[in-house]
Symmetry: C2
Subunit: 355 residues, 2 copies
DNA sequence: TACGCATTCACAATCGTTTGTGCAAAATAT
DNA sequence: ATATTTTGCACAAACGATTGTGAATGCGTA
């Protein structure tokens, strides 16, 4: 299986050009090639030029695998998300990819499908691929964080985004969910709503805790009493939103506004309201969370909290790459908190009510 | 930077366990370790057991990078899609990931953002990462396929899916777009529609050619004349759908049904129709393509062609892995054609019209 | 006893890149 | 002129797993 015809010619077949090929052609060592390509100071400008020119001419493509093996670190970033469908994670991933590509990194994406077991497997896979760093958004059911000990022990930098471990000291990029819940509720109150309900997410997840707290704080700051009956736990699916809305309608004193911690649940609520003949926003005003694409095509269009998804992805990559560059800092835990933005649409607009 | 305390102890710090560590511990060679772990026949059962046990005990994790370097091929699959938002590609990617994971491969995902330049860069990146194979769905504007010569020359197996090069002999997994256009149009005709229009996609893309041809064939088979004025080219965005629908409404004899080659365009059409006071489906019946998630939340819900996205991803991976396993077959081009399925909903249902 | 054969394993080269160290020549200082 | 620094490059050892070749062992058979 002779890959070369004679000892000093170039790869004529499909075989990729290696540094050794360049070195042979130029009569220098592979050391020189390597250092010339990485602009090392100990290589003369003339030599650098020659190497660069030949590399271009022969279409030299570095073998990242070999480089990664040698320096014990690849140019790969591992990403674990619960799922990729839906605007939020798709956009965050998009942001991650942009930022990573710009920095010369590639991205491996794994989906946990909201399953802890799969999440564990993903982590193993990614560590096996020798990723330089890990970006993780937890599956819904993850309470046990031992599979991340492996990551820490190995020294692989790790940044969580959006869905982070509850009471752990970690590096993370998150949204100010409390602020999101706050401005959303505040907006509904400003529209003149008297009884604002909340369709809340799973209580063990930090993001939903924040949104709930924001809701409560806004009520308190407005001097309104918090009626426990107006807060319904749900799983943030459309069906769960329907269930929750039905429960709220069955109340002795039903709400005249609903803030849902997720748009899908709000969509379910909207459909139940329509089926029940309630007008939105006249009878019940609606506000959601995530600014999903479909908020623009419902009737009426849905008010929702935008999370600046792509920005979150980019911020996460920035933080991760800082840790990659300076592993010593890994111990000092950092948090980046992004500010949400309320997108006001017809579902919550009652006209000049405040006036 | 001594990684080991003495010459024969184990890595106590975070350093991963290597085959050399196992070998040293057991007093055998790395050859034996490697072959025991890969169940090579030349290793005795007793030795195999010992190795396996120690590997488990020390939590040995193989360094895929090294293996990939040695055998010139990684366990990575590269994927290039135009974008990842929206149901279709997200689902296909999901299918790809499932199938790949099951086969022990990981997946690197790149988005071309419908940009040929970015697509070229993606290909380079993925080849640089030494992927074992490539799965590609073309960007809208890709006419020039020279960047794939590099792939061929290098011998990296390549499978296209959905958006394939027009007149090239390639391995591909596609939907029977013609059939999709056909059943969709046939369904509209069966509902009693007399003038079925078509909002068509960019003419140079194979998928839209197929959908258009299916539309024409269904008309012909039903003995209806094909009115060129009823076919409008569009870019398949929502805005383009609006434009197209406005043009159709301005016709002397407007259509009483529309088959759009994409759901987003159909959504635009729907909104124009509503704004114009036309009833759907009574005045104009509607059918689309892709079975996007939002087809279920419009009013009325939209009839659409389902593409069996996940199945497409899985089929593509299957084909790719066959090529990886047997590179000799790479010359014989294969095509897998999936059958579409029409999801009938209110936007096209005129009641028992055929009766 | 001597030979062939199967079993079980070690040696050593290899993939392509990076990098600490060393050595010569050229440039500068004394 | 010599002593010292700088510059420019090569040698060779890694990184960790794979694999062709060949050697030692044990067994059965002629």
């Amino acid at each position: 299986m002779a890959r070369r015809g004679t000892s000093d010619d170039l790869p004529a077949n499909g075989a990729p050009v290696s540094m050794a090929d360049l070195a042979r052609e130029l009569g220098v060592s592979t050391t020189t090639i390597s250092r010339a390509l990485s602009d090392h100071h100990s290589i003369g400008p003339a030599t650098k030029q020659k190497v660069l020119k030949l590399a271009k001419k022969l279409n030299y493509q570095p073998n990242h695998l070999a480089a990664a093996l040698r320096r014990g670190q690849s140019r790969l970033l591992g990403v674990v998300v619960p799922y990729i469908e839906g605007r939020f994670f798709a956009s965050v991933v998009h942001g991650i990819e942009q930022a990573a590509t710009k920095a010369g990194y590639s991205v491996i994406i794994c989906q946990s499908s909201e399953d802890v077991v799969q999440e564990r497997r993903n982590i193993d896979t990614l560590l096996g691929a020798q990723v330089a760093g890990l970006l993780v958004s937890l599956a819904r059911g993850t309470h046990d964080f031992r599979h991340f000990d492996k990551v820490r022990k190995r020294g692989t930098p790790l940044v969580f985004f959006d869905r982070t471990p509850a009471a752990e000291a970690v590096n993370a990029v998150v949204l100010n969910d409390r602020a999101g819940g706050y401005i959303s509720t505040q907006h509904l109150l400003a529209q003149g709503c008297q009884r604002v309900a909340h369709i809340a997410g799973p209580p063990h997840m930090t993001i939903y805790q924040g949104r709930r707290q924001g809701y409560l704080d806004a009520l308190a700051d407005a001097g309104r009493p918090a009626d426990a009956a107006l807060v319904v736990d749900a799983d943030m699916t459309q069906e769960d939103g329907e269930r929750a809305m039905r429960a709220l309608l069955a109340l002795p004193a039903p709400p005249d506004a609903v803030f849902a911690a997720g748009d899908s649940a709000l969509l379910g609520a909207l459909q139940v309201l329509k089926a029940a003949g309630r007008r939105v926003p006249a009878d019940v005003a609606l506000a959601g969370f995530s600014n999903e694409g479909f908020t623009l095509i419902t009737e009426p269009r849905l008010t929702s909290v935008d999370q600046h998804c792509e920005e979150m992805g980019q911020a996460a990559v920035r933080m991760l790459l800082e840790l990659v560059a300076d592993p010593g800092r890994a111990s000092a835990q950092r948090q980046v908190v992004l500010q949400p933005e309320l997108m006001v649409r017809e579902s919550s607009l009652r006209g000049p009510a405040g006036a």
